[in-house]
Symmetry: C2
């Protein structure tokens, strides 16, 4: 029963200002006249907005560009270091934090192991990380972005539940804002990563699904250039959809979730089984040597052409592809990007995903879908955490 909100002049201005900023961001160096052509705004308006951006230190003139038959244009560029963002990735075993500029260029990274840490103690670790990075860049600090597993109410910045940290309904954004005095954005890690791909991979898609396949499986759904959260902030939580009728128990309590068959855990479980059955195989010897298999071991076995490993990896990929076929059917997105540790496994896995997704989705739609690995632009969760801040504060991924 919520009623849509009214439109105001400020919103109009904010939208158009974001448009100009984005033109500089994506197409700079660029002249005012070109920004006007690109955005449809008048030169007058663009000039006005640019004036504000220059006053704010966000943009600068860098001299004349080539003439096209008239007065040479004054080229403008965004000042990448004009603002900074502190981005955090609250991983399962380690909290990582980075100080980044407007382009997602990392200035400094620090991290703390958090095994055994939980509750208020974990919040204190977050504070420490921020304090350490904030020293010396308080003036330019645009905001703090947090990427974390679990269900996150992005509107209020409340973490609904993060099992391993024993956080429940923690208003992390409020807590951090109160202590550090800058805007704070909190987002689910997979969703943040999706925004990072949109903002930093040099290629804009209005609609995009980015699937993180690691120990867990989660997707970020970007529709119309904006993150889609769903009614309960659970959009993209595909890891716990049941896909295997006689599957194993999942950490969520049910059986046969996608995670139990397609995550890194699933692959390692199965390769370990195989290694135990065949102690003389390469994987068997690797297991005996180290006591535990890792995805690197799987990669090595895969590269060596081990058939059992290949079958396991392909099976995992096919399960994911099956899920993606459903995603394509429901959303008809033109681009699905895969990332996370499992996505690093290479073409054996990727081809399995693609093949299964294409075989199962309506040809008319699937023909256009690009399923690809994320470009190696860095830690996507960290980048995403900063992308969320950039989007919220500067409107760097405006839709429409």
């Amino acid at each position: 029963m919520t009623f849509p909100s009214k439109a105001t002049h400020q919103q109009t201005r904010a939208h158009n200002a974001a448009l100009v900023l984005r033109a500089l961001y994506d197409f700079g160096p660029i002249s005012r006249a070109d920004v006007a052509r690109l955005s449809g705004l008048t030169r007058t308006t663009v000039g006005d907005v640019v004036g504000v951006l220059i006053d704010d230190g966000l943009a600068r003139e860098i001299g004349r560009g080539p003439s096209t038959g008239g007065k040479a244009p004054i080229l403008l560029e965004l000042i990448d270091g004009a603002r900074h963002v502190i981005a955090l990735d609250l991983g399962e075993f380690v909290f990582r934090a980075a100080l980044m500029d407007l382009r997602g260029q990392v200035q400094r990274t620090i991290e703390r192991p958090v095994t055994g840490v939980s509750g208020d103690e974990a919040v204190d670790v977050v504070h420490e990380l921020i304090d350490e990075l904030a020293t010396g860049s308080r003036e330019t600090l645009l905001g703090i972005g947090v990427g974390t597993p679990g269900i996150v109410d992005a509107a209020t910045g409340t973490i609904r539940s993060a099992v391993n940290l024993n956080w429940q309904d923690l208003p992390l954004a409020d807590i951090l804002r109160a202590r550090h005095g800058v805007p704070v954005q909190v987002a689910n890690d997979s969703r943040a990563a999706a925004l990072a791909i949109e903002l930093f991979s040099g290629r804009r898609s209005t609609n995009l699904v980015a699937v993180k396949v690691g120990r867990g499986i989660g997707a970020g759904v970007l529709l119309g250039g904006e993150l889609f959260h769903g009614d309960g902030f659970g959009a993209g939580e595909i890891g716990h959809v049941v896909v295997d009728d006689d599957g194993a128990e999942c950490r969520c309590g049910r059986f046969g979730c996608l995670e139990t068959v397609a995550s890194s855990r699933a692959i390692l479980l199965r390769t370990t089984e195989a290694a135990n059955e065949q102690p003389d195989s390469p994987l068997g010897r690797r297991l005996a040597a180290s006591g535990e298999l890792t995805l690197d071991d799987v990669q090595v076995a895969l590269d060596a052409g081990d058939e059992t490993t290949r079958r396991i990896v392909v099976a995992a990929g096919r399960f994911l592809g099956r899920m993606l076929a459903g995603v394509i059917g429901v959303l008809d997105v033109e681009r699905i990007v895969l990332h996370g540790s499992v996505a690093e496994l290479g073409d054996v896995w990727l081809d399995a995903v693609r093949d299964e997704a294409h075989r199962r989705a309506l040809r008319l739609l699937a023909g256009d879908v690009v399923i690809e690995r994320a470009a190696p632009i860095g830690d996507l969760v960290l980048l995403g955490a900063s992308a969320v801040v950039l989007t919220a504060e500067l409107g760097l991924s405006v839709g429409r």
Copy 2:
């Protein structure tokens, strides 16, 4: 590489005007002051907009309401018959057309069988239907809305392909607009139906998936109060996602699509098989008598407690539920509405759908999801075709 478009004063005005109109639509009779409170607009702005609405004949004052301690408010209401819409449902066997008012109240309905009709001939039938309904209501005609199966480019009103009518890349909106001189909207039938449920069922959901389960299966995806089309206008085309590994051939050419196991065709195919195997069963006798089974026969057998029929219907429902679990995982919508001939089968089917969807979706998400049959508000495709026009012309389902 398309750049978002600029914001203007006119858009601001249009948005706010739509807000006022919607307040009248959803909450009327209502005073200007209450509209202001509801929308957040100032009384001044609301008064201004209402003035225009009254001038346009869209609203009227209907006297004073009860005072709450001050001057009694002047109540306003929408004039339901102020405008009319011609809605068309281009069904597989019959084209149906209706003249409706702003509330979706049907003034007149006509139809033409179109078996064997295709190409330009079919377009002529559309023209005829419109001409017949338009006589006498030219002045109040707001627009024409068309609901049709197949892939439709809703932005341009072009039908990409409608197999049975032999239409390919037909710019139907342009054709109808040229001939009849009013705005035309064309939409996929399932998507149109979703908008009808949103607009006419008396209950607003920002996010909603409406699945039409009949001879075909398709969904309309409503996100943020607006229809989501997908990059290739194929969002919601879940009927041709492969769900059955050793399934039968589908009319789309592949094997095991959702339609081959969950549509009315699938149910009738299976019950007919069963009837042939057991000629003495109720269904067997029914088949022998009429030569062909219908969903009504299935309904009768179901009501009579026939176990074979029940199993077939439940199996069909479970396949759909499985797909819905995926939808819930991807979108986390709070409400999924089912309609179409199969959805009329009753609780045996609905319970199977619900049970399977809930069992397979993440508990946290699935717990909140309501899966329900559409309220019996009329022909959803016709209503939807008109809803698309009302949305486009009056902004009756504004988001944000």
